[in-house]
Symmetry: C2
Subunit: 446 residues, 2 copies
């Protein structure tokens, strides 16, 4: 079983309001290495595959047509650049993998290729790239890139990833760097090539500025769920994050994704699929109930709403609260209708229902997307979900963000280890992140 | 006296060919944290102000109209991204400052502002930005930015730095982040402002995505030597790197720079000037002579030539070797004529003379740009240069790159300390890099 742990360099990632708990630490720690270093060490001691950093550029400004609510509640703002935190954590770990979100909007592909080659060298092959195409409108307003339609940005991202892969894989031959003192030759220039890319979106001549790193191409992660996004994932990704509502639907999606990859000429076994899951646990059911009550009371409903409206591009504050969603023109409400349908496909939801929902109050009893229970119950849930859906593991979102990591390392992992479901030590050889997913010797992208 | 040490994340920075020395370590170490971590620890133990990373994007491709010679000799290629190395070294140091080169060509200013705010948070206020406007033609060929004329790129850089400073200084009020659990308020959104920048080159709405960091604006370094570059430095920079040929010329330049800053409305005392100097030393003159011979033999003349041609934009391979530089049209040879004039303003230099010169063979007896001698002799040279030119310190370029750092820390610094010219410990308070240069309490840009 593969286990990633997900976080973000901002206050109380994923759980708006929980920064208020005195033990949380993210309110000031999100920007401090004194916060991040012990976390990386714990995850490494627990043999977690990789620590995965989400990221976003710009502010959520849909709710009430303003970024004020997002700022007030610390909804993914303020933040710091996770790429730098990964580099810092590379200095104090030897085996833990890292995956970091990096948008195809905000930097030129030549830069992106150099960044990930550098990270792969500095981590000795422990880096993954979560490819996102996100075009928040605020990105355009901050001079970061043109606003494109959904499909156009995937077309552009296809070309972008192609440029990066050419720089990583085709520019320097494996034996180009000779370091031969006698002939005064560092690199055999005849074994280094320009890529001469002339595409619709990018012109990149090359050669790449970095020598081949342990993995060359970082492990490619992707989470697109749309039809176009799934094709993108099937074409490029090695790790796909999914948020499957239940194992049966999951099994269908997992099969479709692997089949699409095969149609595109890839080995379907070279795609691993991780189910995203919020994790909340404690030693006993009584302790867990108390914890849920404690954290539920700290959840910021308005913060969750600002985040939800930003994700879905729907401003619940723009309509009367008793208005049924069905009365709002479909082009404005499609995303929110799809979202609410997951809770109850039959019910006639109103705008006010959206407002009253917050992640923490709705989910523990709904269970969608949650691993909730004692460690043994959670291990059962994981085992069952994996068996029925065919996913390869989980992308765990610790709740609350800080002590939830302790719970994963001290309670969940040992329970999985007792059942023989999770490693007790990292493989002594095969040090790269890719080998962790695809087996020893599979260092390179395939 | 202020002392920075300069390096670069590539084989044998600044000294082409010295990667061949068995003790050097940069040939593989340039991309490894196992190489960089002990260096940072040594510099911190010696109380050096800051470790400064040069950087370049693209390859030197002027000599022979190709990047082949640069690749063959490892001339600043391959490389890794120094921003990541700085982040990693932040994790294992507490007081050492860092300055890193970051070009105004390759990233949007909104991104740049986020990067340096993040670094300033993660280092707790120990970061400086060496602003470069470099437009290598290969940058344009790699899709990194339009090729602009020299003055136009400084105009653009003025606006770029202005945008960054607005994001750092004007977007978030000092008390905007309140972290008030009782009122469920992380940030008082009324104290966060958009910057609404609409300029010739950039449109950036804001607000900034990061809360105020210890220094807000990183310490601004700059090294422009042209008339336009000097105005840019006088307008923005707090630390200016110079390469003065002698103390008398130096004194004139230092006075002019401070005067220009005053004309632009700045306090001339808020600019510190550091002379760049190659450092080569040993305990005794006999040991030093042996060292010079040893390293001189390892210098790669063709590598130095590839670098020199790249810097000056003049291809010595394109002309007959016996052709006097004076017979080459001035527009093609101005830069190389200026360069050779530094060695002898009277001599009728030929193309072949340029070819025969390499940094290592010419400089030890010429002395321009070098600190060369026993530790006591070098301390004398520094003391005299500083007194006569009015510079505030030195940007030391260790020769060779690795053991030269040991020489600085173990031989030069103790000699300066014995003479009372250099600190024996970092100030216990005033932890930011800016305070190190401008005194306790001067945390913010002024």
């Amino acid at each position: 079983m593969h286990l990633n742990v997900m976080t973000q360099c901002s206050p109380s990632p994923q759980f708006e309001g929980l920064w208020r708990h005195p033990d949380d630490g993210t309110a000031t720690g999100y920007r401090s290495l004194d916060y991040w270093i012990p976390i990386a060490r714990k995850l490494e001691a627990a043999c977690i595959d990789a620590l995965f950093f989400a990221d976003v550029h710009g502010l959520y400004d849909v709710y009430q047509g303003s970024w004020r609510a997002a700022l007030r509640h610390g909804v993914q703002v303020p933040s710091v650049d996770p790429v730098l935190v990964v580099a810092a954590l590379a200095a104090i770990t030897r085996r833990l993998g890292f995956a970091v979100t990096y948008s195809t909007t905000y930097h030129a592909p030549y830069e992106c290729a150099r960044l990930f080659s550098s990270l792969d060298h500095l981590t000795r092959g422990r880096i993954g790239w979560n490819i996102v195409t996100s075009y928040l409108r605020s990105a355009a307003e901050n001079g970061l890139g043109e606003y494109l339609s959904h499909d156009a940005r995937y077309d552009r991202a296809d070309e972008y990833v192609g440029v990066c892969r050419a720089l990583w894989e085709s520019s320097w031959e494996q034996d180009a760097v000779v370091r031969d003192a006698a002939s005064d030759t560092f690199t055999d220039a005849g074994r280094v090539h320009e890529i001469e890319h002339r595409g619709r979106w990018f012109h990149v001549q090359g050669p790449h500025q970095c020598e081949p790193s342990p993995q060359r191409t970082p492990v490619l992660y992707q989470a697109g769920a749309s039809r176009r996004g799934t094709t993108f994932a099937a074409r490029h990704a090695e790790l796909v994050f999914v948020t499957l509502p239940d194992p049966a639907t999951g099994a269908t999606h997992v099969r479709a994704l692997r089949q699409r990859a095969e149609e595109l000429g890839r080995d379907p076994k070279r795609i691993k699929i991780l189910q995203a899951a919020f994790v909340l646990t404690d030693r006993t059911s009584a302790e867990l109930r108390a914890k849920i009550a404690r954290f539920g009371a700290l959840t910021s409903a308005e913060g969750e709403l600002a985040k939800l409206c930003g994700w879905l591009g729907f401003d619940v504050a723009a309509y009367p609260q008793d208005m049924p969603l069905a009365q709002i023109p479909l082009e404005a409400s499609q995303s929110i209708r799809d979202f609410m349908r997951r809770f109850d496909p039959q019910r006639a939801w109103t705008v006010g229902d959206v407002r009253s929902i917050s992640l923490f109050s709705r989910s523990p009893h709904r269970r969608t997307g949650w691993l909730l229970g004692t460690p043994a119950q959670i291990a059962d849930q994981m085992q069952e979900f994996r068996a029925r859906s065919g996913v390869d593991g989980f992308n765990l979102i610790p709740c609350p963000p800080t002590s939830g990591i302790d719970d994963i390392c001290a309670l969940i992992v040992p329970e999985l280890q007792r059942r023989g479901l999770f490693r007790r030590e990292y493989e002594p050889e095969g040090e790269t992140l890719r080998e962790r997913y695809f087996g020893r010797g599979n260092t390179r992208y395939a």
